[in-house]
Symmetry: C2
Subunit: 443 residues, 2 copies
C-alpha cells in the first residue's frame, strides 16, 4: 500500500481495495501514516464519498481498533438509541430509564456537547455527584441491576474513530456522510446490542440540515447495522426548532426530569414515547407497535420511569435530593425575561441561534478541554404558530453576569421570528421511519 | 483568520479574502498552521480551484517569502525559458547558450528530475566538474560575462513554494493548475527577468497530458506574468512522443551537445530555434519573428552557440575536454540493441514508458535524496510514422548490468507500437502560442 496512491485513487473516484484501505487506516492509527496524508484523504472523501465496501472497511477498522462490550449474559434484549444531535435534545435522560422500565437493557454511551449542541454527559453532570466516567465492570453491574447505565465513550472503544474525529474537526471534514455513519455505528456496534434506534435530526438546527442528506445518513447507518446482524431502525425527527422549551445543560436536565414526572412538554414527551416504543419492538419483535406504545406511555405516566431514573442517579453517585427537585439544579446567577416588542404569529424559533447562544454564554464548548457553565441558557416561552401580543414574554435568559444577560436577550429576541400570517409550517415531529426495507413516512 | 474556516470556505466554493489567504499561507510557512490543515486546503483546492485573485495571493506570498535577484545593472534584456517537463527534453542545454549568443542574458534556474522526467541539473552534472550549486554573486558574474548561467533553485528563492511542494508531493495534490502556475511563476518572477518563455508540454508524456488543461495552465501563467509587468509567452509543444532520440541524463547531454554542433536531431534543433527566436522577440520587441529566427539559426549553424556553451562549461567548472567530445561522457556499463520482431509502421513511441524505464534503471528519482546512475537510458532509433522491417534496430538500451539490460529491452520494446497502417497522426511540434491577447495556432 502506497499512501499517496490511496489518496490519489480516492481523489480520482477509483475504488480503494479493502486491503489498501485497511492498511491506510491502521497505518494512521499507529502513526506510520501522518496526519497530513489522512486529512488529504478525508477531504478527497468529502468530494468523492465512500462506497458501501469502503464504508464497511471503515466501520470494521474503527470497531476492531478497540475493545467491545460483552453483554451476552444479560437476560433480555439490549437496545440503545443514538441521536445525531440537536438543540434542546434531552431525550436520552428520559428515554434510558423509560426503555429499561419496559423491559430492555440500555447500555448508553453518550457524548459531550460540541458545536452548537449540548451533550448528554454534560446534562447528567448537572446533577451533583453524578459520575459519567466509571469502569466498564461497574457500568455492567449498574446496567444489570438498574436496566440502564449512562457513561461517556471510554478510551478503549474505537480509538481509530477518536483519532480520526479529532483530525476531521480541525480540517473541515466533519460533514462527510459515510464518515459520520461509520463513526456512530462503530461505537454502537461496540456496545454488543441486539437492537439500535437512530434519531436522525433534520432542519436548520441539525448538523445535516437537508432532508435528502439526512435520509442518506439514516439509510447508510441502517445498512451498516443490518449487515452486521444488528436490528437497526432510524427515525427522521424535526430540528427546524428546538426540542422542548429548555436549551442549556442544567435547564434541559430539569426539563427532562419534569417530563419523567409527567409535566411535559408535549413534543419531548411524545418523541420519548415513540422512541421507547421503537426500542421495545426492536428488542421484542413479537410486541406490536400499538402495544409497545401503550406500555411506554403507562411506564411514563405511572411514575415508574421516574423511579427507575432515581435508581440510576443513585447507582451512578448522583444527588437524589437534587434530582427529585429539579428546581435545585445549578442555575445561573442572573436571568431576565424577554418580551415581544410587537404582536404577531411565531413563524420561527431558530435552534442554531439558541444553540450558538448557549456556547456564547459559556454553556457550550469551543475547545474540547473547556469547563462549562452548566446553568446558562434559555427557556423559550412560545412555540411555532403561537399568536403573541406585544409585551408578552418570549422566554427567559439565564447567564452568569449582566453582560451575559444582555447578550442572551439579543440572542433570544433574534432567534424568534414574528410574522403577520397565521400558524407557520413546521416539520412533523417524526417524519420518516427508515428500516432495512426502505424509508417510509412515519405513522 | 480561523484556519478551519479558510478550509471550509475553499471546500464550499466560497472566495477567500486576500487577508485570510495571506495569513493562512504565512502561518503555514512559520509553522503556526500545521501540515494537516494545509493538505486539507490543498485537496479542497484540487476540487474547487483557485480564482485569479487567490492565485495572485499565492504567487505574491511565495515570491515574498524569499529573496529576489537584482539584475537591473545588466546591459541587455533578461529572458529565461521554463519547461513544464517532458521526456527527452534537453532543450535548455542548447537554448541557454543560443539565446545568449543572440544578445540576451539568460539567468536560468532549473530543477532536478522528478517523476518520469529527467532534469536539467542532472544532465549538466553528467559533465564532470560542472557545478550547479554556486553562490548568487558568482552566478551573477558568470551571467554577466558569459551571457547565461545555469544553476538550481537556491534555498533563498520562494521557500513557501518549496514547503508547499514537498507537502503536495506526498498528498496527491500536485496536479492543481493554479498551484502549478503559482509555483513556476513565483520562481521565475524572482529571477528579475524582462521576458519569460514558457514551454508547456502536451500529450501522454506531459504532467498535464490534456490539451485543454495545458491551455489553461499556459493562460494562467501568462496572466500571472503579464499582471506583474513581465512580458510572457507560452508555447504548447508536443509530448505525445519523446523529444529527440535520447532519453536518460548523460545520453541527453550528449545529444544536446551534438545539436549545438549542428548534428540534429531535427525536432530538437527546430524547437530550440523556435524558442530562441521567441525569447529574442520577448527581449527585443523591435526584432521581427522572421529576423529573430534567422539570427538564431545563424548563431547555431555558425558554431557560435557551441562556443558559448563551452565558455559556460568552463565558467561553471565543467570538463571542457569531455564537453567537446560527448562520446566521452559517462556511459553505462552494458548496452544492447533491440530489433523489431516484425515489420510495420511506427504508430507510437510512449514517452511515459521510456521515462519510467529510466527511473527503473536507476537514472531517475523515486526519492529526493537519491544518487542517480547518469549513464543509463535509451537511444530510440525510430520515429513516428517510420516504416520498419523485421530485424531492423528499434533502439539501444544502456544499463548498469545485465538485469538492467533485460529490463530495459522489455521497456523499449513495449514503448514502441508497430501497426499496419501508414504514417500515424502526431501532434505538431509546436501547436499553440499563448500571449496576453489569447491562444493562437502556432506558425
Amino acid at each position: 500500500m502506497i499512501p499517496t496512491r490511496v489518496i490519489e485513487a480516492k481523489r480520482s473516484g477509483e475504488r480503494i481495495s479493502t486491503e489498501d484501505l485497511e492498511a491506510f487506516l491502521s497505518g494512521f492509527l499507529d502513526g506510520a501514516i501522518p496526519d497530513y496524508q489522512m486529512s488529504a484523504f478525508l477531504m478527497a472523501a468529502y468530494f468523492m464519498g465512500l462506497d458501501e465496501a469502503e464504508t464497511e472497511v471503515m466501520v470494521r477498522s474503527m470497531l476492531g481498533s478497540g475493545s467491545k462490550l460483552d453483554l451476552g449474559h444479560l437476560d433480555g434484549p439490549r437496545v440503545d438509541k443514538h441521536s445525531t444531535g440537536g438543540v434542546g435534545d434531552k431525550v436520552s435522560l428520559v428515554l434510558a430509564p423509560l426503555a429499561a422500565e419496559v423491559g430492555l437493557f440500555v447500555p448508553m454511551m453518550s457524548g459531550r456537547g460540541l458545536g452548537h449542541t449540548t451533550g448528554t454527559l454534560d446534562k447528567l453532570e448537572a446533577i451533583p455527584g453524578f459520575r459519567t466516567r466509571i469502569p466498564l465492570d461497574e457500568f455492567e453491574r449498574i446496567l444489570s441491576e438498574v436496566g440502564c447505565a449512562m457513561i461517556g465513550q471510554t478510551e478503549e472503544i474505537a480509538p481509530l474513530d477518536r483519532k480520526l474525529y479529532a483530525l476531521r474537526d480541525v480540517t473541515g471534514t466533519v460533514p462527510v456522510i459515510p464518515l459520520i455513519a461509520a463513526s456512530i455505528m462503530s461505537k454502537k456496534l461496540a456496545e454488543d446490542l441486539t437492537g439500535l434506534l437512530l434519531d436522525v435530526k433534520v432542519g436548520a438546527g441539525a448538523f445535516i440540515p437537508e432532508e435528502d442528506r439526512a435520509q442518506e445518513l439514516a439509510t447508510t447507518m441502517v445498512s451498516v447495522g443490518e449487515r452486521r446482524g444488528l436490528a437497526t431502525v432510524a427515525l427522521l425527527t424535526a430540528m427546524d426548532r428546538p426540542l422542548g422549551r429548555a436549551v442549556g445543560n442544567a435547564l434541559e436536565t430539569a426539563e427532562a426530569i419534569r417530563c419523567l414526572r409527567g409535566e411535559g412538554p408535549d413534543d419531548l414527551r411524545r418523541l420519548t414515547i415513540v422512541e421507547a416504543a421503537e426500542m421495545l419492538t426492536l428488542g421484542a419483535p413479537d410486541v406490536s407497535s400499538e402495544e409497545a406504545e401503550k406500555r411506554a406511555t403507562e411506564a411514563l405516566d405511572s411514575g415508574r420511569a421516574f423511579e427507575r431514573f432515581m435508581r440510576l442517579v443513585e447507582a451512578q453517585g448522583g444527588d437524589t435530593g437534587v434530582a427529585a427537585h429539579p428546581e435545585r439544579l445549578s442555575t445561573a446567577a442572573r436571568s431576565a425575561v424577554v418580551t415581544a416588542s410587537r404582536a404577531g404569529f411565531v413563524t420561527g424559533v431558530s435552534p442554531r441561534a439558541l444553540g450558538e447562544g448557549v456556547v456564547a454564554l459559556g454553556g457550550g464548548r469551543v475547545r474540547m478541554d473547556q469547563t462549562l457553565d452548566l446553568g446558562v441558557g434559555f427557556e423559550v416561552a412560545v412555540a411555532l404558530g403561537d399568536r403573541i401580543e406585544r409585551g408578552q414574554p418570549l422566554g427567559t435568559v439565564y447567564a452568569r453576569d449582566e453582560a451575559g444577560v444582555r447578550e442572551g436577550c439579543t440572542v433570544l429576541e433574534g432567534a424568534i421570528t414574528l410574522g403577520e400570517e397565521g400558524p407557520s409550517e413546521a416539520r412533523p415531529l417524526v417524519s420518516h421511519r427508515i428500516t432495512r426495507d426502505g424509508s417510509y413516512p412515519f405513522g
